[in-house]
C-alpha cells in the first residue's frame, strides 16, 4: 500500500515536468501571448468604467501591467459581480477585478487570490479640526450610501452623508487611508473597516492562479496606495 502511494507520487512529480502546479484547463497557456479576458465591476478608485467604455482605476493599471508581463492583450467585460463570477466559473473570463474583498461570498464559483493589499477605512481630520477623542456623539462626514454610514452609527457617531468627501467639510471625515496625503488629512486613530483586497480567477486553474498571485504579492503597499491616489486625482479632474 505504502509502496504504491510512493510510486504514484513519484510518477505524478515526473509527469509534472517543469511547471508546477498545472492548470486543469489551459488558461495560462491561452493568456500568454494571447488575450486576457477580464470581467470588471465599477468600484472607484479601484476600477472605473468610463462612458466611452474604457476602464481606469488602480486595478485597471495593475491588470495592464500583468498583461504586459504575459505579452497579452486585455479585453474588458463590464458587468455585475454575479454574472461575471458565473462567466469566470465557466472559464469564459480569465480574471475578475473590481475592489473585491477576501470576504466575498464567491468561493463556490471562483477562486479568490491571496490578499495582495490591506487597506483601512479611517476617520481623519483636516487641518484646523480637532481630532475627536471618541467617535460617540461626534459629527463625521461620510460618503453617502456606503457601509461606513452604518459603521459610524454602530459607534454612536452622527454621520453626515456627503456626495463626495473633499476635506473642506470642516468636520472629521471618513476616507480610505490612501487619501490622507492627497486631501491633506491627519489620521485620528479611529478605523471603521479593514479590507483585504483580492482578485478572482477560475477555480482549478492553479498555474494561472499562481502566476497572478506571484504578480500581486510582489506589489508593495506603497505602490498600490500610489496607484489609488493617482486614480482619485484622475477621477477628480475628469
Amino acid at each position: 500500500m505504502r509502496r504504491t502511494i510512493a510510486l504514484v507520487g513519484v510518477v505524478l512529480v515526473l509527469l509534472a515536468g517543469c511547471r508546477w502546479p498545472q492548470d486543469v484547463g489551459t488558461t495560462l497557456e491561452d493568456v500568454r501571448g494571447g488575450v486576457l479576458r477580464v470581467g470588471v465591476t465599477e468600484a472607484p478608485p479601484w476600477t472605473r468604467v468610463t462612458d466611452a467604455g474604457a476602464v481606469t482605476g488602480a486595478e485597471a493599471r495593475l491588470v495592464e501591467r500583468l498583461a504586459q508581463r504575459l505579452d497579452a492583450r486585455v479585453e474588458w467585460y463590464p458587468g455585475s459581480e454575479s454574472s461575471l463570477m458565473a462567466a469566470l466559473n465557466g472559464r469564459v473570463l480569465d480574471l475578475v477585478v473590481g475592489g473585491l474583498d477576501a470576504k466575498a461570498p464567491w468561493t463556490k464559483e471562483a477562486s479568490l487570490t491571496r490578499p495582495y493589499v490591506t487597506m483601512q477605512t479611517i476617520v481623519a481630520v483636516p487641518a484646523g479640526v480637532p481630532a475627536p477623542q471618541e467617535l460617540a456623539g461626534a459629527r463625521v462626514a461620510v460618503p453617502a450610501g456606503t457601509a461606513e454610514v452604518a459603521a459610524l452609527r454602530g459607534e454612536e457617531a452622527v454621520p453626515v452623508p456627503v456626495a463626495e468627501v473633499t476635506g473642506r467639510e470642516g468636520l472629521p471625515v471618513v476616507v480610505g487611508q490612501w487619501r490622507l496625503a492627497e486631501l491633506g488629512l491627519r489620521a485620528t486613530g479611529h478605523e471603521l473597516a479593514i479590507h483585504d483586497h483580492v482578485w478572482a480567477v477560475p477555480p482549478g486553474e492553479n498555474a494561472w492562479q499562481v502566476e497572478v498571485e506571484r504578480f500581486l504579492l510582489a506589489l508593495s503597499h506603497g505602490e498600490v496606495e500610489g496607484l489609488l491616489a493617482a486614480a482619485e486625482r484622475e477621477e477628480a479632474s475628469a
Partner: protein, 347 residues
C-alpha cells in the same frame, strides 16, 4: 462466597489499561493539534470543512473510551446489579458509529465533489517573504498528522488485543482511517498539482469505501455484542476460544458427567451460566459446585461472573439447538471453528 469480583483486570492488565488511558489522552491532544494545523494551512476552504468534520469524529472513540474507563470498574449496586462492565460495550457502539459516520461522510463528500465537477483551487502562500505553492504546505501538514496516527494506531491495536478491549480496537481502526484519508489527500493534492481536478475526490472515494467497510464490520460487531452474541476475539475475526476451553476443562472434572456453558461479553470481561450434571452419588456437591465456580474464575482473568447450577440432565435437543444458533457443532467443542455464520439460523 463472593458473588462477584470487585476488579475487572489483574494487575498486569490494569497496568496496560493505564497505558491505554494515557494513549487516549495523547490521541485527543493530537487531534486538537491536527485541527489547528489544518486550519492554518487550509484556511476557510471546503477541504478544511471536511478535515474538521473528520477530526471531530476522530475524537469520539477516545472520548468514549475515557468515559467508559471511569465507569467500567464501579461496584454493582441496587440500581445496576450487574455492575458497569457494559459501559465498555456502549463505548464500542459509539466508536463504531463514529467510524462508520466518518466513512459515510468521506464517500458523500467526494461523490458530491465529483458530481459537481468541483475544481479545487490551490494558490500561493507567503511564508516570511518566500512565496510557496500552498499545496506543498498542505502535504507537509497532512504528512505531519499521518505519522502520529500510524504510531498511535499500532500501539493501541496491540494493547487492545491483550486487554480484549474493543473500544480501543475501534479507535485503532479510526487512526488507520485517519492516516489513510491523509494519504489520499496527499495524493489528491499532488494530482491537483498536475492538473487532474478529480484526483482528490477519487482518492478520497476509494479510501472512504474502505472506511465504510471497516465501520460496517465494527458496527455489526458492536450491536451483536449488545445482543449477547457468543464472544469473539477483539478484531471479530473468530469466536473467542475461552468458552470451549473452559467447557472442556470443566468436563475434565471426574465428578462432572455432563456440562453446558453459555457466555456473553460485558466489555472486557465474560459473564455467564454453567450447568453441570454431577455423576450420581457425588458427595459434598455444594462445596464441589462452589469450587468449580472458583476454578472457572481462576481459569482466565476474563471469566468474571459465573453462575454454576447443578441439573439432573441436559437435554440433547436443547444442547444441539443452542449450539446450532452459534453455528458450532457441539461435540467438537474446543476446536477453533473458522467459519461461523454470524447471523446464524436461529429458529
Amino acid at each position: 462466597m463472593r458473588v462477584y469480583d470487585r476488579f475487572e483486570l489483574p494487575p498486569d492488565k490494569a497496568e496496560l489499561h493505564r497505558r491505554a488511558v494515557q494513549l487516549e489522552w495523547w490521541t485527543i491532544a493530537f487531534f486538537l493539534v491536527a485541527v489547528a494545523l489544518l486550519a492554518l494551512t487550509l484556511g476557510q476552504s471546503q477541504a478544511m470543512k471536511a478535515a474538521w468534520i473528520e477530526d471531530m469524529l476522530g475524537l469520539v472513540p477516545p472520548a468514549a473510551f475515557l468515559i467508559a474507563a471511569r465507569f467500567r470498574n464501579r461496584k454493582p449496586n441496587d440500581r445496576f446489579p450487574y455492575g458497569y462492565h457494559r459501559s465498555v460495550s456502549i463505548a464500542f457502539l459509539a466508536g463504531s458509529v463514529a467510524l462508520l459516520g466518518l466513512g459515510a461522510y468521506v464517500v458523500y463528500d467526494s461523490l458530491v465533489r465529483l458530481i459537481a465537477r468541483e475544481r479545487p483551487p490551490i494558490g500561493l502562500i507567503d511564508v516570511y517573504g518566500h512565496q510557496l505553492w500552498l499545496g506543498w504546505l498542505m502535504i507537509a501538514a497532512l504528512f505531519a498528522t499521518m505519522v502520529p496516527a500510524i504510531l498511535l494506531g499500532r500501539v493501541k491495536q496491540r494493547i487492545a488485543r491483550q486487554l480484549h478491549d474493543k473500544v480501543l480496537y475501534a479507535d485503532a481502526e479510526m487512526n488507520r482511517a485517519d492516516w489513510l484519508t491523509a494519504g489520499a489527500a496527499i495524493l489528491g493534492v499532488l494530482g491537483i498539482g498536475v492538473g487532474l481536478w478529480w484526483a482528490d475526490a477519487v482518492a478520497a472515494l476509494v479510501i472512504g469505501g474502505d472506511i465504510v467497510r471497516d465501520g460496517t464490520r465494527t458496527l455489526r460487531s458492536a450491536v451483536a455484542n449488545l445482543m449477547d452474541n457468543r464472544p469473539r476475539v477483539v478484531d471479530g475475526s473468530r469466536p473467542h476460544p475461552l468458552r470451549d476451553n473452559l467447557l472442556t476443562a470443566v468436563r475434565d472434572h471426574d465428578w462432572v458427567a455432563d456440562a453446558w456453558l453459555r457466555l456473553r461479553e460485558e466489555g472486557h470481561v465474560f459473564v455467564g451460566e454453567l450447568l453441570v450434571v454431577p455423576v450420581p452419588g457425588t458427595d459434598r456437591l455444594v462445596e464441589r459446585l462452589e469450587e468449580l465456580g472458583a476454578f472457572a474464575r481462576k481459569f482466565d482473568w476474563r471469566m468474571h461472573d459465573l453462575v454454576v447450577a447443578p441439573v439432573t440432565r441436559i437435554d440433547a435437543a436443547e444442547r444441539e439447538g443452542s449450539d446450532r444458533v452459534r453455528g458450532l457443532p457441539y461435540p467438537q467443542a474446543g476446536r477453533p471453528s473458522g467459519q461461523e455464520s454470524r447471523t446464524g439460523s436461529a429458529g
